[in-house]
């Protein structure tokens, strides 16, 4: 018996086949394109997803394919697929990175008010969220909006193609901005604001419940010799945490990827009323005593700041993260007082200011590119620490911090995280976390075990990395300086932009 996790990501679909004990048997991936037909647009063709999924699964070893019993789905969050009453695609999928709805996002937020939004959906709205995309569609393309028969998230479209069923589960539903955060059901307030009715939306099932079986056509498309069941699955972010065993109160996952995220599960729907963090329903099941929500703080720049430095400043995109880490390791903790403020693309948590700008401060003639590389690692981690602090404020003091994402491969970066948060951390070596998380949910659906239990039992970790007292003190002092920057300069950013 084998579980299949399918992660419908932003740039590719990733499939993992996992044994009942959590051994990854095979991983395959096939990319697809994002089109930008106009400024700010980010669209994908759902048929491309379907073809890519078929190609990926068919490419698994025959032996593995013949063993598949339950399929779990993971997906890129927030996006929008609209079908007609006759279940035909009306327009291409509008994915999370589409920013054409920026104005609609502000309008919705102003109309409803921040505290009401916080209490209703637990998260700030942003362009690309399904709720915002629907508002944008209604404003700019009323004919299409009025023809909507069904609206769904990307991975739930995949479920529709696999099983013919129209359903979702709470974790992805939460990412639309249409889910009532406390009840984990559709929000009548938001539906009314957006102009959508319940009949347009999929039924909300449990993540670890079976949602249907493969149609004959789908079975052939995937190259499976027998049918398989499909369970609810979840959004890619909570599934990644689950695959890293981060399911309980007190555990935090810190992800160092293009941006950085701090993610922690919580047993009640606590929200941040200033809307600096996101509180979303999770793929875990509060009815079974699990944490039913997760809180996330996300920063804009992490690995992306290092990539910018390599490519745009040093002028060599081939400089790897490893080389930059080695450069950084040649200078002392604190980069001799050089501080990088990483708001290159504005900032999300904690400032929620898309117009914020970055900086190098504390610069002297004794600094060189090695100091800059180190300052970028440290500065992006200061930003992450700000996000982590807000997340912890809504959840629980952390007793287990798991570092994941590409940055977890850099031992210096992991040490910087430990020193800045001044707690021991451990790394998650799980690759393809969201796809593995989907397989975790599939296994839970199959066996009836709680998702958190399966996630914990499959997860493995690197050794604990401890903070060094002296380094922690240095960072504590430097972080105060870092934190003074934004309030001092926020009023100057508009002048710099003009």
């Amino acid at each position: 018996m084998t579980y299949l996790g399918i992660d419908l990501g932003t740039s590719s679909v990733k499939v993992v086949a996992v044994s009942p004990t959590g051994t990854v048997l095979q991983v395959r991936s096939v990319p697809y394109a994002t089109s930008h037909p106009e400024s700010g647009a980010a669209e994908q063709d759902p048929d491309d997803w379907w073809q890519a999924v078929g190609e990926t699964v068919r490419g698994l070893e025959t032996e593995i394919r013949s063993q598949i019993s339950v399929i779990g789905l993971s997906g890129q969050m927030h996006g929008t697929v609209v079908l007609s009453e006759s279940r035909q695609l009306l327009v291409p999928a509008i994915i999370w990175s589409d920013v054409r709805g920026a104005e609609d996002s502000m309008l919705l937020t102003e109309t409803l008010g921040k505290p009401a939004i916080a209490d209703e959906i637990g998260t700030p709205l942003a362009a690309g969220f399904q709720a915002v995309t629907l508002s944008w569609l209604r404003r700019t393309n009323r004919a299409t909006f009025d023809s909507i028969g069904y609206v769904m998230l990307p991975k739930d479209y995949l479920r529709f193609r696999l099983t013919g069923e129209l359903s979702t589960e709470p974790s992805d539903a939460a990412s639309t901005g249409l889910l009532q955060v406390h009840t984990r059901d559709w929000s009548d307030v938001m539906l009314k604001a957006v102009g959508i009715e319940r009949r347009h939306l999929p039924r909300i099932g449990k993540s670890a419940a079976l949602s249907g079986v493969l149609t004959h056509e789908a079975q052939a498309h995937l190259g499976l010799s027998r049918s398989a069941r499909v369970c609810g699955g979840g959004a890619d972010v909570p599934l990644a945490a689950i695959a890293s065993g981060v399911t309980n109160l007190g555990q935090v996952m810190v992800t160092l990827s293009s941006g950085a995220q701090a993610t922690a599960h919580v047993d009640a729907s606590s929200v941040d009323f200033p809307l600096r963090t996101h509180t979303f329903a999770s793929a875990l099941e509060p009815d079974h005593g699990e944490c039913g929500w997760y809180v996330m703080g996300a920063t804009m720049a992490c690995g992306s700041a290092l990539s910018w430095f390599a490519q745009s400043v040093l002028g060599d995109r081939s400089i790897s993260g490893q080389v930059l880490s080695e450069m950084a390791s040649e200078v002392a903790v604190g980069a001799d007082g050089l501080i990088f403020v990483p708001y290159l693309s504005g900032e999300r948590t904690p400032h929620m200011d898309p117009g914020a700008r970055g900086a190098f401060i504390g610069l002297t003639a004794d600094h060189d590119r090695r100091h800059m590389a180190r300052a970028i690692i440290e500065g992006t981690t200061f930003a992450l620490a700000d996000a982590l602090e807000l997340v912890v404020g809504l959840t629980s003091e952390p007793n287990d911090i798991v570092v994941a994402g590409g940055g977890a491969k850099s031992s210096i970066w992991v040490q910087v995280v430990a020193d800045i948060v001044n707690r021991p951390v451990r790394t998650s070596p799980v690759a393809d976390q969201s796809a593995v998380g989907a397989a975790v949910v599939a296994a839970a659906a199959d066996t009836g075990r709680p998702v958190s239990e399966v996630g914990q039992s499959w997860a493995s970790f690197g050794p604990d990395v401890f903070p060094h007292d002296e380094q922690a003190t240095t960072y504590q002092n430097l972080r105060r300086v870092y934190q003074a920057f934004y309030p001092a300069f926020a009023s100057h950013f508009p002048t710099l932009r003009s």
Partner: protein, 511 residues
């Protein structure tokens, strides 16, 4: 015109240069070698004095022996960096390395000195604030930290005077360099007894004082062998490099305005008498005795002007030529996509003297490339110049600047000078004088040798071309906005942050 020749030596932070000129100031020969600096600790920098003399001999010899009939050379004078010198024992041998002018080890001594005298009173006497770079605190540091060395030290000579001494001159101090000790009374032109007492120094350590252009000795037979100069020719007193350069540019009296831009940048106005308004000192300006007898100057210094560009070139654009880098920077729209660079890479002088200041790039986005950063560095240097010239011209009681003379190695960076013209909204007249500092020294040598009657006669004889850069009026409003709304706000916004960082990382390096 006679065929006599003069030698000007410029002992700088980056290079040691010797120039042989004829009496019109035309360069006949030039030789240059890189200055040597060691960095024994973070924040420390020093030069070996014997090695410095060897480098001086090397370039003098190279320049002097390359001219036809070196016997025509009638005089030499030495200009040097401002706040650096050599301690000597009774036999005239160095007792310690030359502490580089920008070295920051003397913060404790400076604080002690500053605590002992009212800031305004000090400025009224010396025309300066007490700063860690000044020679007074450097001597206090040596006495505090190395009493054994201090006990063997009987004389201190600025670098200019030390090299002159090695050439055969009497040990003597010049007024423009004396003005950089923190101990010199500008109006009476003597060492101030109260200040000497605060520093715990005796006037014996400085010896006699002489004005620029005075003949202080003749090249010795020994020095003649080492340098290739004719023995017995006049050694003229020269002084502070920036001020020698100003003399070469004809900037000696009220109304003369000079931007001397190199590693550091000197913003200078000529003065007929010292400014009496002591608030000048609190705003980062100094005044001092000119190398030209009886004249004064008002000065604002940017410690890292050309140095900021050189830093950016090495740190961000390593491996590229100047031309490539400047073509790239020129392709970036004026305003550098909203990136503003603050060039306080060692310390700040405007809007106030701040030895704990640090530099910054503000306004970074993912659109920013090396070209953008380099352009922002050039614009930052120009903004800093504007931040200095504004108040300086007010103190000198001059009208709004419309014309500025520009000299120095960095004046060759045409993109920078063009940017400065638009940022300042003032014409920049680049004097095509190849080595202004060395030329100024040579002119002082000519006064000492008697080939010029006086400073005005020297200026009247010396000729060179001028290239003028006009402001781009389409850019002036944009630069005005960036300067008024952002640039001038950055320093004070960053000040508490920079002080915190300085105290964390630099305090431990001050023994």
């Amino acid at each position: 015109m006679s065929d006599e020749l003069l030698v000007g030596l410029d002992v700088g932070t980056t290079n040691v240069k010797a120039v042989v000129v004829d009496l019109t100031g035309r360069t006949i020969a030039v030789a240059s070698v890189a200055q040597e600096i060691s960095y024994p600790h973070p924040g420390w920098a020093q030069h070996n004095p014997d090695r410095m003399w060897e480098l001086a001999c090397q370039v003098i010899r190279e320049a002097a022996t390359s001219v036809e009939n070196p016997g025509r050379i009638v005089g030499i004078a030495v200009a040097s960096m401002g706040e650096a010198g050599v301690t000597l024992d009774v036999r005239g041998d160095p007792t310690y390395d030359v502490i580089a002018w920008f070295d920051r080890r003397t913060v404790a001594q400076t604080d002690r000195f500053a605590a002992a005298i009212d800031r305004d009173k000090l400025f009224a006497i010396t025309g300066t604030e007490i700063q860690p770079i000044m020679t007074g605190p450097k001597l206090m540091w040596l006495r505090d930290e190395h009493p054994d060395i201090w006990a063997r030290t009987s004389r201190f000579l600025n670098v200019s005077a030390y090299i002159a001494y090695r050439l055969g001159a009497e040990p003597s101090q010049e007024h423009s360099l004396a003005s950089r000790t923190g101990l010199f009374d500008l109006r009476s032109r003597t060492w101030h007894p109260d200040l000497m007492e605060i520093a715990g120094l005796h006037t014996d350590v400085f010896g006699t004082l002489s004005m620029g252009g005075t003949r202080i000795g003749n090249v010795s037979i020994d020095a003649s062998r080492q340098t290739g100069l004719p023995a017995g020719i006049a050694i003229g007193m020269a002084g502070h490099d920036h001020i020698c350069g100003a003399f070469a540019g004809g900037v000696i009296r009220k109304g003369d305005v000079l931007d001397s831009i190199g590693t550091a940048e000197g913003l200078m106005v000529g003065l007929d008498a010292p400014v009496d308004d002591v608030t000048m000192g609190g705003r980062g300006f100094t005044q001092g005795a000119h190398v030209v007898p009886d004249k004064y100057y008002g000065l604002g210094a940017i410690y890292t002007a050309g140095a900021s560009y050189e830093w950016a070139r090495a740190a961000l654009a390593g491996g590229k030529s100047h031309d490539e880098i400047l073509v790239g920077a020129a392709s970036v729209p004026a305003g550098s996509l909203g990136v503003v660079f603050l060039p306080h890479l060692r310390l700040a002088m405007f809007p106030e003297l701040d030895s704990r200041a640090r530099g910054a790039f503000i306004g970074l986005t993912t659109d920013v490339t090396t070209d953008v950063l380099i352009r922002s560095v050039l614009e930052g240097i120009a903004f800093e110049g504007r931040a200095g010239f504004g108040p300086l011209t007010q103190y000198a009681q001059l009208p709004r600047l419309s014309d500025i003379k520009v000299i120095g190695g960095t004046a060759r960076n045409e993109l920078l000078i063009q940017i400065k013209a638009s940022v300042m909204n003032a014409r920049q007249h680049v004097l095509q004088v190849e080595e202004a500092t060395a030329l100024g020294a040579a002119m002082l040598a000519g006064m000492a040798a008697g080939v010029y009657r006086n400073a005005d006669d020297a200026i009247a004889n010396v000729k060179y071309e001028t290239t003028t850069h006009e402001p781009d009026s389409s850019l002036v409003p944009m630069y005005d906005g960036l300067f008024d709304e952002v640039y001038t706000a950055i320093y004070s916004a960053l000040k508490p942050m920079n002080h915190a960082v300085f105290d964390m990382f630099m305090a431990g390096t001050v023994e």
